[in-house]
Amino acid sequence: MKPLVPVSTGARVILGVGFFVLFVAGWGAVTWSGWVPPLFLASPGRTLLAGWSLLTEFGFAGDIGITIFRVVGGFLIAAAIGVPLGLMMGAFKPVEAFFEPFISFARYLPASAFIPLLILWAGVGEAQKLSVIFIGSFFQIVIMVAVIAGATRIDLVEAAYTLGARSRGIVRRVIIPSAAPQVMETLRLVLGWAWTYVIVAELIGATSGIGHMIMDSQRLLDTGQMIFGIVVIGVIGLVTDFLFKALNRKLFPWAAI
């Protein structure tokens, strides 16, 4: 192995899948051998069976759907407001000076700590779930996008000025396109965090969703179902990540990826 030398696509796939196989093998070894009792950890086989019954008998697909709706909904609302605000903050320093201190403060407030308050304000319906995701994602998005936009190469901005651009042109044709790939990368990251908030929101005061199912399974001590729920979240994350990366390659062919 040499530092920073790229690896071929084939080798990358084999290596990536390899670790999954190793992981499941390790999991199987400790459960099938009886080293860890099923009460604490279900075996891979039992987990799959539990998942099958969840999907066929208990309508788990509906839970998955509602959870995805909450994450994506809250996240899209946060992005729709957060990205433009972040871009404005990065581009215009007075705007930044106005919002930045508050947002830096708000960003440290844990979204999960708001859940009791939000239940009080919005009940246990969808509005409350979306609010949790929104609070958890919005401030992160704003602050990270502001930093990205603020770091626009100044020489490119100056070149645009000498070509006749004014403030509007600088924002539309330099700051936004130059920030775009990193903004997408930020959204990918924050979407990952949004998943942790939705599950917390569903553990408390929810009647549907993956988090609610996990909570229910704990009452029945069904570790198979609990693990299946967690694995489903991981798989959804993997798929979104993949889609995000493919989209970025398509949208930004100019950035060497």
């Binding site: 490119l156 000498t162 396109p177």
Partner: protein
């Protein structure tokens, strides 16, 4: 053909020091008049304030004292009448070669079809045929600076400000680019202010060479280059050329030595 006169009158620039550091005097009071259609080379050692002076003319930096005027209109901000090619690569990475060249035209609101025609013309003139749809990262340094030159020219500026545009290129590419620029200037007679620290380059291109002193920069000498246009590379070995070179070398040697001991 340009028809505005550029006047640099008593322009000074002092950069405030960081923290407790003393302020840097980058440019001593500088006076220079550039007539329409003139090609003036500014020659000076590293750090003498060449870029600073050019940035002030471009309107990207403000002088501490003095004023720059273009036909009596004071320069206070950057604008499309003063096109610039920078020392570093400044193509927009998210635009193709053709889109980069059209940037200023689009900003002006020129119709698409007309943008296309203008871009094609400058793609042809700068030898970029076949590279129209390349991304900047796919281009060599020479190709990138060709595109930057085409981008500035497409905007049809009164004055072209060139800050060591070929400084980062290898010797052969550099000579090729000099000939390209000369050809364009001989055809268009646009006013050019060209910064360099290469004596041959200055003589080969300019009809006047302005020599700057080591930091803090000031204009030390102005040397006219009475060699006829059109010029070609064979001129670089002619006796007149050698004589001019010897004179400019004498002017600049001390300055380079001073700059080296300051730095």
């Amino acid at each position: 053909m340009s028809n505005k006169t550029l006047r640099i009158a008593g322009v000074t620039r002092t950069f405030p020091g960081q923290g407790r550091a003393a302020p840097t005097l980058a440019l001593q009071p500088t006076n220079l008049t550039v007539e329409p259609g003139e090609f003036v080379a500014i020659l000076g050692p590293s750090g003498c304030g060449k870029s600073t002076l050019l940035r002030i003319v471009a309107g990207l930096d403000r002088p501490t004292a003095g004023q720059v005027t273009l036909d009596d209109a004071p320069v206070v901000a950057p604008g499309p009448d003063r096109g610039m090619v920078f020392q570093s690569y400044t193509l927009f990475p998210w635009l193709t070669v053709a889109q980069n060249i059209r940037f200023g035209l689009a900003e002006r609101g020129m119709p698409e079809a007309q943008q296309q025609t203008v871009a094609e013309k400058f793609i042809a003139r700068t030898g970029l045929r076949g590279f129209e749809n390349h991304w900047p990262r796919q281009l060599s340094g020479g190709m990138q600076q060709r595109t930057a030159l085409a981008r500035a020219l497409a905007n049809d500026p009164e004055i072209l400000l060139l800050d060591e545009p070929f400084g980062a290129l290898d010797h052969q590419t550099r000579e090729l680019m000099q000939e390209l620029l000369l050809e364009i200037w001989e055809a268009d007679r646009k006013t050019v202010l060209f910064v360099t620290h290469d004596i041959d380059e200055a003589i080969f291109l300019a009809n006047r060479v302005v020599v700057m002193s080591a930091r803090p920069g000031r204009i030390k000498a102005e040397v006219p280059v009475p060699l006829p246009y059109p010029r070609d590379w064979t001129m670089k070995t002619a006796p007149d050329f050698a004589a001019l070179k010897a004179r400019l070398m004498a002017e600049i040697r001390d300055e380079v030595r001073k700059a080296a001991t300051v730095a």
